[in-house]
Symmetry: none
Subunit: 196 residues, 4 copies
Amino acid sequence: MRARKQGEPTAIERARRAQIVRAAIDTIAESGYTRASFSAIATAAGLSSTGLISYHFATKQNLMAEVLATILADFTEFVTARATQGTPATRLAAFLAANCDFIASHRNHLIAMLDLQHAASESQARQADSDRAKLTELLADGQRRGEFRPFTPDLMAGFILSLRNGVIRRAATDPEFDLAACTAELLTTVRLATTA
Amino acid sequence: MRARKQGEPTAIERARRAQIVRAAIDTIAESGYTRASFSAIATAAGLSSTGLISYHFATKQNLMAEVLATILADFTEFVTARATQGTPATRLAAFLAANCDFIASHRNHLIAMLDLQHAASESQARQADSDRAKLTELLADGQRRGEFRPFTPDLMAGFILSLRNGVIRRAATDPEFDLAACTAELLTTVRLATTA
Amino acid sequence: MRARKQGEPTAIERARRAQIVRAAIDTIAESGYTRASFSAIATAAGLSSTGLISYHFATKQNLMAEVLATILADFTEFVTARATQGTPATRLAAFLAANCDFIASHRNHLIAMLDLQHAASESQARQADSDRAKLTELLADGQRRGEFRPFTPDLMAGFILSLRNGVIRRAATDPEFDLAACTAELLTTVRLATTA
Amino acid sequence: MRARKQGEPTAIERARRAQIVRAAIDTIAESGYTRASFSAIATAAGLSSTGLISYHFATKQNLMAEVLATILADFTEFVTARATQGTPATRLAAFLAANCDFIASHRNHLIAMLDLQHAASESQARQADSDRAKLTELLADGQRRGEFRPFTPDLMAGFILSLRNGVIRRAATDPEFDLAACTAELLTTVRLATTA
DNA sequence: GATGAATGAGGTTTCATTCAT
DNA sequence: CATGAATGAAACCTCATTCAT
């Protein structure tokens, strides 16, 4: 019923939805998207039945969309707060550092994010494109100021995000991975790849 | 029965397994891992029963392991044939170029590969590690010769493979993506990131 | 709570129950009994929760019983007001004409009625029997006066009601059905079948 | 799998499908369409799981379509074998008598048929129309020969089928109903309503 | 009185797997 | 070797009903 209603959600409802989304993120991160059934999520959330999930989310796709949106929102909030000042080169470095810090503190979020991307819907793909577009903008700006060498900004943005994704996956997979060392190397590598 | 038998597989058996694996790759690439049911794979393979798949593969995990192994084998064969000659820097460039060429000619293989990585088992993770190890070796070799700057070879290998994966995903997702242009930029970028 | 209470219902309560019953009739008529869930009925009634329906009706069966009772009451009121004067033959004709008029003006009531009959409970079957009994009485009366030929009144009553039900279903199903023409033919047919 | 295959069904398959259809008819007749779940049907058929039903019928709608088709086929076979000879009036009487006999011997078929009609699909509605069309044809033929009075054949066909349906429902509902007596009265009634 | 939240049973359907033939 | 049939677990989802507020 609720899942089909319109209007403002109440505080209780928002709390439950957030709880379910959190449980979904953890379940996906730990067991993979394929095994993240309503049943598994309900258990992780301490709910007594999968019915409650359906009560709050009209469809599983729907839930997953909110999961991804939440992850991206948390991520964006964290990263943009730290990559807003200075020249493009500085901001790029700050962006990457922020990414790596986020990985350390929100491991599950990012593992889940990677697992969700290939199950992503149309609108989510557009969201990913828009993320890349912002980075593209930053790079183009740096080129205009002469900080960056002449590359195709859109492609380089893709490269940088790919590197970030690789770090996420490695951090997720390998428990002995040294994230701090990797961050330093990543910054150097990207600097060399981009500076004029 | 066969799936539990020991001893040498017959020629017919190997042919059937290859046929099923091929169909699985195509199905995963086109519909995603989630929708790659035995039923879908059997249809794609022109088989009249899913029973035959179970007959040849003890378990679905088992089949997927062979799918991934096959993809990696095809990939390795293709790439190593083109990255064996010259200095490490030359071979690295050839490796990347070969990768991009492989994307163009084996799109389905690579899309399936990405889709399988997070359903990957322990042993498959080890296989991925060994792939990275080979690249690590190449990079270390280049450093010893003074071609490459001093970076942590293992991390740089991870970066390079991440870049490759990103190109795969983008090529798979975006139909208007210009793979040739991307290849050129990728080579430049990696050269700048690695050379002394 | 209320649904289990005893004693006189308040005016508000009666209004709410009527509102719910009306919404149920419309929903059944438009979507069929199978799809007439509490949720659908609540939406049709403009209620914000299915809980309110359960509050006023102890059980779904209970609600459906009241729905059927309401329909039959409305129907009886409409028809008996027009079939009370004259000889049995005249009243029979008036009864049929009234039925057909009722179809035109209360389409939803009658469609719902037909849809409810096979979900009908014991007591509802008895109600239908009593309706037929009244018609039986009328027919027997006409026989005593010599207006009608000698048939088994109870069976003939069943026939007449069957004809009426058929007209309802046809009117409900076929949008091009000419109800007025059908009414005329029906009157003739019944007259020929009954008159001495 | 099988439910989606093409080509000729095997003997075993036809037998299983028939068994399931028979169980569905009995379940609908005894408990009503609403309560005729796959689970109930599987139990009635002595199957070990509902999965087998889905294996043979792609969809519940699909199964119900076959149920209705089977009923109509059995019915048509029974009735047309007995209503083919003589003048239209004779055949009409034979048709009605055959209907009543069928009711006695195939009670469940007919109860289920009535319960399915309002859940009927487009194509099933067309089938019902075509049944009425055949009767319409018979009536028009009788009019041309002068056996029947001038009525609208299509409407009269609807009336006759409505009478038949009423008898079915009454026979289904009332265990003490005297079908033989009803048949006699029905024949007389229809004769009076139709003859010139 | 009314509402939103919660519950748990049960709905249809898909799936990997087994087995007789 | 291969097939069709069968199985039962588990998937997502809907529903009537209960209850605290």
